[in-house]
């Protein structure tokens, strides 16, 4: 969306990175995505999205420790930057404001956790 600069898919990826925290690498993210949404996705798509978000400045990455399960190859762990957080907040606030303006979906049915 224009306001936040990320699309729906990228937003989901960004959230998953936040959720997975220390385990936020491409393969885990794709697995989580599949289990959460039921859509299957290729590693390449995830990887491209992660690169794009890094390019926009919403993510940073670091190489982690090698592990046996990956044939000794290291993982690249992604984490959200401050501007990534701002983008997510902006997106959430925008959604909430729209939803609350819609009479049938009024506020008192939902509960949030504020940070």
């Amino acid at each position: 969306m224009k306001e936040t600069g990320i699309g729906e898919f990228e937003e989901v990826i960004l959230l998953l990175v936040g959720i997975l925290d220390q385990n936020a690498y491409a393969f885990r993210i794709s697995e989580e995505f599949e289990s959460q949404t039921g859509r299957s996705i290729s590693i390449g798509a995830v990887h491209s999205a992660l690169e794009r978000l890094s390019g926009k400045g919403f993510l940073t990455s670091e190489m982690g420790k090698p592990s046996a399960g990956r044939g000794g190859r290291r993982k690249r762990i992604y984490s959200i930057t401050a501007s990534g957080r701002r983008a997510l907040t902006a997106s959430r606030d925008f959604r909430i404001s729209l939803w609350s303006q819609f009479p049938d979906f009024s506020v008192d049915q939902l509960s949030f956790v504020f940070n």
Partner: protein, 862 residues
């Protein structure tokens, strides 16, 4: 197979295309997924999933950039070389401009020449099975001819199973054709055996070889003719009246034949309709018109020479057969055969070979220019090269840089020279009598030619400078030394200049000789008076009354100085008639040219009668004939009187000699004088020769036309000037001389460009030296002398070196002509003077300019 590691082939593919920065973690992800799927769903699924993942990873964000990374980045380097080359070209403008100009000139001409030669060598090679198609030529000891009697064709068709088909083709143009009451002139009309349509490839618009010529009254015309005669109407079924003799019905239309053929059919008529019935007889083995030709196509696998031998043996036995032997000339060589009476035009092989040599030489001159200039000029680039070396470039990288730079320059030149070549070719059709369809320039072959020339020239011109420039010691570049540069490049430079000027000098001498020879050819006394003679065709040859009336009317006109009838003019290049004659005193049968003349012919053309009497109308009946001196000499007589009374037996009959005429040149001056037999046959007086006074030429012409049209209203009036017809002999020589002029001019121009560039850069480098010399008191003249000496020396050397070359060349060129000029060393001196003067101009100008500079400006350069 170890199933716990993923399939190796897709993995290797992935490693190849993946960007190295991402490779490790994506690979890890791939392996993790693979292992998981292996566990959950089994090997086959895991494998399939892996391959699918790798394929899905082949996307723009992940594929490595072509520039490569540190270890292997040739593509990236090429990009920088290209950028640097372009920048250098723009920065050093005069250097680039001079080189560019030299290349554009040299390449432009070379490309046009290659293209022209390619066209000329492509004649008639487009027919299917052209390697089995031949034109038959009659061989007679240096007087070969293209006339082939019908007897040969008939025999080939009936007695030779190896022959697929043999045909006669006679190029015979009507005096006039008539369509719906309108009169037209028709050229390129041919009487043929219908089988020729199967031998030669023709594109049909209407009709086909099977449907046409069911009856002998049909005709095929080509599209432009159809449009000219019938405008927009459908031509099929319409009638054309031929020469007021017979009517033909249009039965087929063909496309205009391509430009590269010796058979430019515009109108095709079955030979059975030919008016010369005698020539069509199957037992006719005698002489005739050189445009009456024979073609033969042999079956696959047949032996051409055995067929030649056998038909020759059969023919020699026949009475009246003129030639010594018959020879089969491949159809795509006919265009280059000097003895063929061409339907289109004759293109001598020697001319084409020379064009190629000259093209190559021009390219060499341009390359030499470039080598000289770049080895001199790019000494200023030493610092840049040194820095690259310090930063770690190897020799190969430096070489590549210079070759790329050369390549870019040559590429730009090729673009301009292709445009120049296109212009030259389209104009060449006017000046050089070639006939290349301009559309052919857009073909793939042209691109291939340009592309190959580009690579070739880049390498030839670029290799030496690249090697020599990158071959030095780093420190020397950073030391300010006055004499930068090794000794040997200077010597090589002089050798190269000398080489260039040898070529230019040879070309200049060539054009001088060529022009002189052309002048000689056009002005030599041929032994006949051909001043102000108009040739007019005479239709209705059997109608003596009309012809004499025409003569009477014209004789009364004040502007007409004389009129005489004959078969043709004494010296006609087309349609000459030949036959063999026998006499007991001849060593062998004598091949002589036949000329039919009226009683005024000798006086009209100023032909001297050496013995006997002139010819008269009564000589037809008694078969009296004149011969020329060659015949009486062949009989062994020392004085022509002795030949009188002798008889010569041949075609069209046996003649008794009643007089002897002085020799004259009836062929081009490339040939010897040949024997002639002159007879009086009024029914063959096809040409009227009319001499008109120069003062009232237009009046005379108008009168002639009027009288002619009054007498022959159903025919087409045509005339020609004899002097123009005579010049036609030398068309190819004239072409060659024209070309030579262009090449000489261009070559000396390129050489001077090179000289100018060289001296310009040398002067720049020697600025300090000049300044110091002047301060120490040197006069301007001595400074100029110092600067120019290095350049004039090689020019003088080249003048000496080219002497043997010129000696050889002029001998072989002039030996083409039986009658030629003598080679005089004055020509050489003139050429040398021209070269020296033209070459000195840039040298002195630039030297003077540098020598005049204020020493203050030069010495401030620290």
């Amino acid at each position: 197979m170890n199933r716990s590691s993923p399939p190796s082939l897709p993995l290797r593919f992935f490693r190849w295309f993946c960007h190295p920065d991402y490779r490790e973690d994506i690979e890890g992800d791939l392996i993790e997924r693979y292992l998981k799927t292996l566990e959950l769903k089994g090997y086959q699924n895991a494998k399939r999933q892996f391959i699918w993942d790798v394929i899905r990873l082949f996307r723009p964000g992940i594929i490595r950039s072509m520039e490569g990374n540190q270890k292997l980045n040739s593509f990236g380097m090429l990009k920088t070389h290209f950028k640097v080359s372009v920048r250098n070209l723009i920065h050093y403008k005069s250097y680039s401009a001079i080189n560019l100009l030299g290349f554009v000139l040299g390449l432009g001409i070379a490309i046009s020449l290659f293209w022209i030669v390619r066209f000329e060598r492509s004649f008639d090679n487009y027919h299917t099975d052209s390697d089995r198609i031949y034109q038959i030529m009659g061989m007679e000891d240096g007087q070969n001819g293209s006339q082939i009697p019908s007897g040969v064709i008939y025999t080939l068709n009936t007695q030779f199973p190896e022959v697929e088909t043999a045909v006669s083709v006679h190029g015979y143009n009507p005096q006039v054709i008539e369509v719906s009451g309108q009169k037209f002139k028709m050229r390129n009309s041919y009487f043929v055996h219908p089988e020729v349509l199967e031998i030669l490839d023709i594109s049909w618009i209407a009709g086909s070889p099977e449907t046409v010529f069911r009856t002998p009254d049909e005709v095929i015309i080509d599209k432009p003719t159809a449009e000219r005669l019938f405008k927009l109407e459908d031509p099929i079924g319409q009638t054309i009246n031929f020469d007021n003799e017979f009517t033909l019905t249009v039965a087929g239309i063909i496309e205009k034949v391509p430009a590269n053929t010796e058979f430019p059919f515009e109108m095709i008529i079955p030979i059975s309709r030919h008016p010369w019935k005698n020539d069509l007889r199957n037992d006719h083995w005698g002489g005739g018109d050189s445009s009456f030709k024979g073609l033969v196509k042999i079956k696959e696998g047949s032996d051409k020479s055995s067929i030649e031998e056998r038909i020759t043996n059969i023919a020699r036995v026949q009475k009246n057969f003129d030639y010594d032997s018959l020879s089969f000339v491949p159809i795509n060589a006919v265009h280059h055969n000097p003895y063929n009476d061409p339907f289109n035009y004759y293109s001598p092989e020697w001319l084409l070979d020379w064009l190629i040599y000259i093209a190559v030489f021009l390219l060499l001159i341009a390359c030499v220019n470039f080598i000289n200039l770049s080895t001199t000029h790019t000494i200023v680039r030493r610092k840049g090269i040194a820095i690259r070396k310090i930063l770690g470039s190897n020799r190969w990288g430096l070489l590549t840089q210079f070759i790329v730079e050369t390549g870019v320059l040559v590429l730009i030149s090729i673009v301009f020279s292709a445009i120049l070549a296109a212009t030259i070719i389209s104009y060449s059709n006017q000046f050089f009598h070639t006939n290349i369809p301009v559309a052919s320039l857009t073909s793939i072959d042209f691109l291939i030619l340009c592309a190959s020339l580009w690579s070739l020239i880049t390498i030839i011109a670029g290799i030496y400078p690249a090697i020599s420039i990158t071959n030095f010691r780093v420190l020397a570049a950073f030391q300010k030394s006055v004499a930068s540069g090794k000794r040997s490049p200077i010597a090589i430079r002089q050798v190269l200049i000398a080489f260039q000027f040898v070529i230019a000098q040879v070309l200049i001498v060539g054009i001088l000789i060529g022009t002189k020879q052309m002048d000689y050819l056009f002005s030599k006394d041929l032994g006949i008076n051909h001043e102000n003679v108009l040739m007019v065709n005479i239709p209705e040859p059997d109608n003596t009354l009309k012809r004499e009336r025409f003569r009477q009317q014209l004789s009364l006109h004040p502007a007409v100085k004389g009129i005489s009838y004959g078969l043709s003019t004494p010296s006609a290049s087309h349609s000459s008639w030949w036959a063999e004659f026998q006499n007991s005193r001849f060593e062998d049968r004598l091949l002589a040219r036949i000329q039919f003349i009226d009683e005024k012919y000798l006086d009209f053309f100023g032909m001297k009668l050496l013995a006997g009497r002139k010819i008269q109308p009564t000589d037809t009946a008694i078969n009296g004939a004149l011969v020329n001196e060659m015949v009486s000499k062949a009989m062994g007589f020392n004085s022509p009187e002795e030949a009188i009374g002798q008889s010569v037996k041949g075609w069209p009959g046996t003649f008794r000699i009643i007089g002897v005429v002085a020799n004259y040149h009836s062929e081009s001056l490339k040939e010897n004088i040949i024997p002639h037999v002159f007879a009086y046959r009024p029914n063959r007086f096809f040409t009227a020769n009319i001499r008109i006074g120069t003062e009232n030429e237009a009046e005379a012409l108008a009168a002639i036309e009027k009288y002619w049209k009054d007498l022959y209203p159903d025919n087409y009036f045509e005339y020609d000037y004899l002097s123009d017809a005579l010049n036609k002999y030398y068309e190819s020589d004239q072409k060659f001389t024209n070309f030579l002029g262009l090449f000489a001019a261009v070559s000396i121009l390129i050489c001077c460009l090179g000289l100018y560039g060289l001296i310009y850069f040398v002067c720049i480098r020697k600025t300090k030296e000049i300044g110091i010399r002047k301060v120490l008191g040197a006069k301007i003249e001595s400074v100029i002398a110092t600067l120019s000496r290095g350049f004039l020396k090689p020019i003088l050397i080249s003048l000496v070196v080219c002497i043997p070359v010129i000696w050889n060349l002029q001998r072989s060129y002039l030996s083409n002509y039986t009658f030629s000029i003598e080679f005089n060393w004055n020509i050489y001196i003139l050429a040398a003077l021209i070269t020296v003067i033209i070459a000195s101009i840039p040298v002195f100008l630039q030297a003077r300019h540098s020598a005049m500079k204020n020493p203050v400006d030069c010495l401030r350069d620290e």
